[in-house]
């Protein structure tokens, strides 16, 4: 984040100060990778070190252990998003006194846009984290889960053109989970609707539903697992 902030200070023609501020100085990008790593590690390392056995043979139910992992990750991600928000504000005050928080950005303000960006990114990353937890439980290794997590982080944008063609042709495809990965982009920029063909509330609900579905499948695998 600091690097992007300093760069946009030094080379305003590369990165706009306003755009960087509303985009939390790319903090969410790095946070996404970090959280994907954490999510896969807190599951896979238990299998790798065999410590999962020691957790499971106690009086706890498997659901409690799975839930404790998800809740830990959830709180951890919230804390990190709050930190990013605060750090963005600090960077702004230190480096960019010319960017006013209440300056207009489209229909909202710089602060409002920053908020939308973070919320959108949060909902989007949880869709991916749920998938990562599922994969980590399935394969018991972190690398597969991390790879798939990072791929799906980029999948929406890489496959965007192909996907929008497909959705034009088969309208129901707009409900596929890949389309839901656009939720972050659409929350921060509502013109994305033309790509996803879903209203922002529907897209948000859709990705929350997929998040829950992935978590439930992950839980089911975890429950049935012989360790």
């Amino acid at each position: 984040m600091t690097i992007f902030a300093v760069l946009s200070k030094a080379k305003p023609e590369w990165f706009s100060a306003k755009g960087q501020t509303t985009g939390a100085f790319n903090g969410t990008l790095f946070l996404a990778f970090f959280l994907i790593g954490v999510a896969s590690t807190i599951v896979a390392s238990e299998f790798q070190h065999g410590t999962i056995k020691a957790l499971l043979y106690r009086k706890y139910y498997r659901g409690e252990i799975f839930a404790s992992k998800v809740i830990t990750l959830f709180l951890f991600s919230i804390v990190n998003y709050v930190l990013i928000f605060l750090y963005t504000l600090i960077l702004k005050f230190v480096l960019f006194s010319n960017v006013a928080l209440d300056a207009k950005v489209g229909k909202t303000t710089v602060l409002g846009q920053l908020g939308l960006d973070l919320v959108g990114s949060f909902i989007g990353i949880w869709l991916i984290l749920a998938l990562v937890l599922l994969i980590a439980n399935l394969f018991k290794t972190g690398s597969a889960a991390i790879t798939i997590g990072i791929l799906s982080y980029f999948a929406a944008s890489i496959l965007q053109i192909a996907q929008s063609f497909a959705i034009e042709k088969w309208n129901w495809l707009k409900w596929n989970p890949l389309n839901m990965l656009n939720v972050g982009a659409q929350i921060s920029d509502s013109t994305f609707k033309s790509v996803t063909k879903l209203s922002t509330p529907l897209l948000t609900t859709g990705s929350l539903v997929y998040t829950v579905i992935f978590l439930l499948i992950g839980y089911y695998i975890f429950k049935k697992r012989n360790v």
């Binding site: 065999g50 056995k53 499971l56 043979y57 106690r58 139910y61 012989n226």
Partner: protein, 301 residues
């Protein structure tokens, strides 16, 4: 006598392979029971089923009269275990592990006492990733004991321990058992359990062959003699011709009975022109008893 653990008609498949077949045994309160059998016999699988780590198709497991399965874990609050290899986080110290796992009152005192008893003071504050196999194994056992469980399940606990550490562990187990804790301990090496257990459950190919007290085992006719000859295969054939069966062990092992005496064996071999290099009397220890049981099982089959 009351039982802390009851395993009844337990069966489990892995795909087509039948890993456990109607396994039946009990562990009485305050007893130390050995679960003994060759590698692949199903010892670890039984223990994992008891701990709710494996599902099973058929049977019943009760701990202190409460049923246990993958989906019902309440009774496991009374159990401590070490299965396969110790569950250790590499970046925590031994002490961290104990603190993390200890619940209830006076945890600090209990940890101190256990560390001292198991002679782990010198490395308990080091990160576990630098531990030797034996140190990890000891830490794993300490973790199984830390919450003063009523039943302790140890899967091949002597693995990787040197003779001194083995003795330390034996002393710890003995003193815990004297205080009323029950143990189920598996091993494929009989001699290491012989000094420890009061009862054995012998298992092979997923079936319980026998549950007996050590005293009972030793009362059987198990006078085993092992020979080294110039041609074991030919010796086997000649002995079979006079009606003496030999166990499928390394070397030539037979069970001395009134009809199959050492004298007869030697005469037979000399007649067949086979040289005898060595005769070892295996005596009446646990090893011989197991051999005899496995031997008899083969005869019956």
């Amino acid at each position: 006598m009351e039982n802390i653990l009851e395993v009844h008609q337990l069966s489990k498949h892995f795909g087509k392979k039948q890993a456990l077949n109607n396994v039946d045994f009990t562990v009485g309160k305050g007893r130390i029971v050995g679960l003994i059998g060759p590698n692949g016999a199903g010892k670890t699988t039984i223990m994992k089923a008891i701990l709710g780590l494996f599902s099973y198709e058929k049977g019943q497991i009760k701990i202190d009269n409460h049923p246990v399965s993958e989906a019902s874990h309440q009774a496991l609050a009374k159990v401590g275990a070490l299965i396969e290899y110790p569950a250790i986080y590499p970046y925590l110290t031994g002490l961290d592990h104990l603190k993390l796992n200890a619940t209830g009152d006076a945890t600090t005192e209990r940890i101190d006492q256990l560390v001292k008893q198991m002679k782990m003071e010198s490395y308990i504050n080091r990160k576990a990733k630098n531990y030797s196999l034996g140190m990890k194994q000891k830490l794993g056992i300490a973790l199984a004991l830390i919450n003063q469980p009523e039943l302790v399940i140890l899967d091949e606990p002597m693995n990787g321990l040197d003779p001194q550490a083995t003795k330390d562990l034996r002393d710890v187990i003995m003193s815990q058992a004297a205080a009323g804790t029950s143990f189920l301990i598996s091993s494929h090496i009989l001699s290491e359990l012989e000094k420890l257990v009061s009862e054995v459950v012998i298992i092979d190919h997923g079936e319980v062959i026998k549950q007996a007290t050590i005293a009972n085992l030793n009362h059987q006719e198990n006078d085993f003699i092992m020979l080294k000859t110039s041609d074991d295969a030919a010796a086997r054939t000649s002995l079979a011709q006079v009606g003496i069966t030999t166990a499928e062990a390394p070397g030539l092992v037979f069970n001395q009975t009134p009809s199959a005496t050492l004298a007869l064996v030697i005469k037979t071999l000399v007649k067949a022109d086979i040289d005898i290099y060595d005769v070892v009397h295996q005596g009446e220890d646990l090893e011989a008893s197991l051999l005899s049981i496995l031997h008899n099982e083969k005869k019956e089959a």
